[in-house]
């Protein structure tokens, strides 16, 4: 039955042997006989089972697929900790300029001065926003920015001959990538609990930090949307024992021009250029996880960084580098878009943060009463709420889909039961927020049966996720 229904569904099923979707230039040299120049046994015997479709069919297929997908362009998308703000099309226009789009990464520096200058300027912008003097644009996603940072910390201690640093501390509110990163860098991750405000418990931290501690990975504001008000104290506790304070910059949209990590003695941090600086998320990538750090950690940055020598921009390998994190120079296209976005804002970046924080607090104020708000004090760019008792976050989330809203992040942070993490971002109007709140209030009152049915208006109903895992089918 499934087979019948699926007929014609995948691109491969829409083709016919012999159809082609693209015409290549005619050969202008003699054809090389592969059997003459390659070993017989290296030649492919059976051709790969790829689609054989014409261009109109391909365009229609993927256009129709796109219509089964929601993006910021189509729907309000208040996904907490992901900063789904409007993606200005000027960014896309910048990356399409042929002088960049067709630039080979191994082009000698003198033939790529424009690209190096963009990188150098963005390094400067990120330095200004963070207050940290040194930047690397190599990491290709937030998680890789985390790994880069923790590897730099590790290499610092190796270089200093300090061999006993085996532990990385991670608050219980942390993104899953934080402990996973610590493991990947061969550290043991140890969880730190929270105080009554949802912030790192400084007393507990003090008890945990010792000469085996390499770093604390803090997110500020944290994943409850609460500002870590003791961050400077936390840095002090770590520094007293020679450990570093790393800041996960996923939530930098709450800090621009209002708080500089360096002022709180943060040693190293990563940015998510695809979140804070509006380069699109693209359905889960590409991103960029650029890092910024103190002078002490600067020599350990990945290879290469861009420096200006006289009038020339050059790639330079930091003295004690951890090595490369990517084949070339990170996700340059994303770097270019973030550079463009920052230039369109300049010092007005602070307004971005102000409006993002205004919107989140407005949603918090409007939902109060109907939803439980575990940390009902000033929030920053996002707010965590809980459904009325007896209702599930998942059901409310699916119900929101029927109202035309992408659900918030649910069941995260883990420390809040039935968490719904709402991040409206600065690019949404009051009307949109009011309508969203209206839907939320309605869902809070909805009957359980009705909620469990949702969604009924989306391209599919709820899915059988167990089946997908038990009877794995991950290809045609």
């Amino acid at each position: 039955m499934l087979g019948e229904r699926s007929l014609g569904r995948l691109i491969r099923d829409k083709g016919r042997k012999g159809r082609r979707g693209y015409t290549l230039p005619k050969p202008d040299v003699d054809k090389t006989d592969l059997e003459q120049v390659l070993p017989q046994k290296s030649l492919r015997k059976e051709k790969p089972g790829l689609p054989e479709v014409d261009e109109p069919t391909a365009i229609r297929h993927y256009t129709n697929l796109s219509r089964k997908n929601w993006g910021i362009d189509t729907n309000f998308y208040p996904l907490g900790s992901c900063t789904m703000k409007h993606n200005p099309r000027a960014n896309e226009a910048a990356a399409a300029v042929p002088g960049f789009a067709s630039l080979h990464p191994l082009q000698p520096e003198k033939g790529a001065q424009g690209a190096l200058r963009v990188m150098h300027e963005l390094q400067g912008f990120l330095s200004e926003v963070s207050g940290l003097p040194a930047v690397s644009l190599q990491p290709m996603a937030g998680a890789q920015g985390e790994l880069t940072s923790i590897l730099m910390v590790k290499r610092y201690f190796e270089d200093a001959g300090d061999e006993g640093r085996t532990t990385v501390l991670v608050p219980s509110t942390a993104h899953g990538t934080n402990p996973a990163t610590a493991s990947m860098a061969d550290f043991k991750s140890v969880e730190v609990g929270l105080d009554e405000h949802g912030c790192v418990d400084v007393d507990e931290l003090r008890a945990l930090v010792d000469e085996t501690t390499a770093a604390l990975m803090i997110t500020n504001p944290n994943t409850c949307g609460v500002y870590e008000r003791n961050i400077a104290k936390i840095a002090e506790v770590l520094h007293e024992k020679g450990a570093f304070l790393y800041m996960d910059g996923a939530n930098m949209n709450a800090n621009l021009g209002r708080m500089r990590p360096a002022d709180a003695a943060v040693d190293i941090m990563h940015f998510n250029l695809h979140k804070t600086f509006s380069t699109p998320h693209g359905g889960g990538g590409p991103g960029s996880g650029a890092i910024a750090c103190s002078e002490v950690l600067a020599p350990f940055r990945p290879d290469p960084v861009v420096e200006k020598e006289g009038e020339l921009y050059r790639f330079v390998c930091p003295e004690k580098t951890i090595g490369r994190m990517s084949t070339f120079h990170g996700n340059f296209g994303v770097v270019l878009k973030a550079w463009n976005y920052i230039k369109m804002h300049g010092p007005e970046l602070r307004d971005v943060t102000d409006m993002a924080v205004l919107n989140a607090n407005y949603v918090r104020a409007r939902l109060r009463g109907a939803y439980r708000i575990p940390y009902d004090e000033l929030c920053k760019h996002e707010v965590v709420v809980q459904p009325p008792k007896g209702k599930k976050a998942l059901d409310i989330a699916k119900g929101l889909i029927d109202h035309g809203y992408h659900p918030p992040t649910v069941y995260f942070p883990l420390v809040v039961k039935e968490a719904m993490l709402i991040e409206p971002t600065e690019t949404e109007s009051k009307e949109t927020l009011d309508d969203f709140v209206g839907a939320m209030l309605e869902l809070a009152e909805s009957g359980q049966e009705e909620l469990e049915e949702a969604p009924t208006q989306a391209p599919t109903r709820r899915l059988d996720e167990t089946r997908a895992a038990r009877q794995l089918k991950a290809r045609w």
Binding site: I11, L50, I59, K343
Partner: protein, 429 residues
Amino acid sequence: MARFTPHTEADIQEMLEAIGVETLDDLFADVSPKFEDPLDLSPTLSEYEALRDVEARAGENVSGMPIFLGAGAYDRITPSSIGAIISRGEFLTSYTPYQPEVSQGHLQAIFEFQSVISELTGLDVANASVYEGANAVAEAALMTARLTKRDPKVAVSAGLNPRYREVVETYGVEVVELPFDGGTTDFAAVPDDVSGVFVQSPNFFGVVEDIEAASEAAHVVDALCVAVCDPISLSVLEAPGNLGADIAVGEAQPLGMPLLFGGPYAGYMATHEKFVRQLPGRIAGETVDQDGKLAYVLTLRGREQDIRRAKANSNICTNQAVTALAATVYAALMGPEGLREVAELSISKAHYLADRLQDAGLKLSYPEAPFLWEFAVEMPDVDRVNDALLHNSIVGGLDLGDGTMLVAVTEKRTREELDALVEVVANAG
């Protein structure tokens, strides 16, 4: 007011009132230490002014010339349809498909990407992509350690792109070097404690390697064989899965992604189904919804960081969904025949160029080795030759620093361009 924010002063006042504070500053009462100066950034620009700057910077790059650089990124033809599809807002402005009911577009596209990679590599299952080629190689190295329960230690030769090797080392994997002679790797003496044996084919110097020999050598010491393959080459070369490779990885950039100074590209990874739990990254799988309708969803999530945290098999969160989509659309438009034609055109042109260079008295570094579209050629002063080429509006090959130039030829190069290169090289040499 922020550029892309709709609020009027009246909106702001109403919202502040609803919140119960008086000023925007009050919203940051809990922030300490505060930053109170204006950010020292370049002045705010309009879109028009910003894009004028983009054009000015682009003008400082060398562009619009034939390119003979390869070494991991290739100047290939990209069909216009790809841009039209990947710039659709529904794809471009969405997030990781955590809510499958409203993400079926990306989920099916990922499923199709996985299918394309599985078909090309001859392996059961592929992931949704990782950041790029070097990271796919590094993740594969870590994967071999988990699967063999050995310390991460891999055998590679000079045939592996040196930058891939550097990333593998950054990821904390020990690397042992295999002998490399005459353009190919000697797999006869693989140490018995390695977790993986890597074979890149075509290798860094463009030469086709013996993946079967690498697999046999790996399996003798109970290690796994990882093949690193250019996906275009798999239209003409035997699938690594049919040659005994346990894992195939590589750079998907040649499948329709612009050069864009090194990224974003996409790394691909494929393996046997029995190893799938150690495959990092997202995987889309087929299932049904509650009405029995076929649909797709992210699956085997127990491998991943947001579920398993410190015990996840990698910290990877995002894949490269949009660039992987570009690769999928490319593969669909080309089909098996088109992909083969791309490979054959490139091979024919590269061999034409190699022959002409040899006619002009130059020597290939590995004259006996079978190559596809990239080859190393001896040149005492590569720098001078490249300057002369640039003077003639040609971007020359990669200076390997040992008196050789690595030259890549794609289907984009015309005979006229190839002849022009030979002429300049012959005169400058």
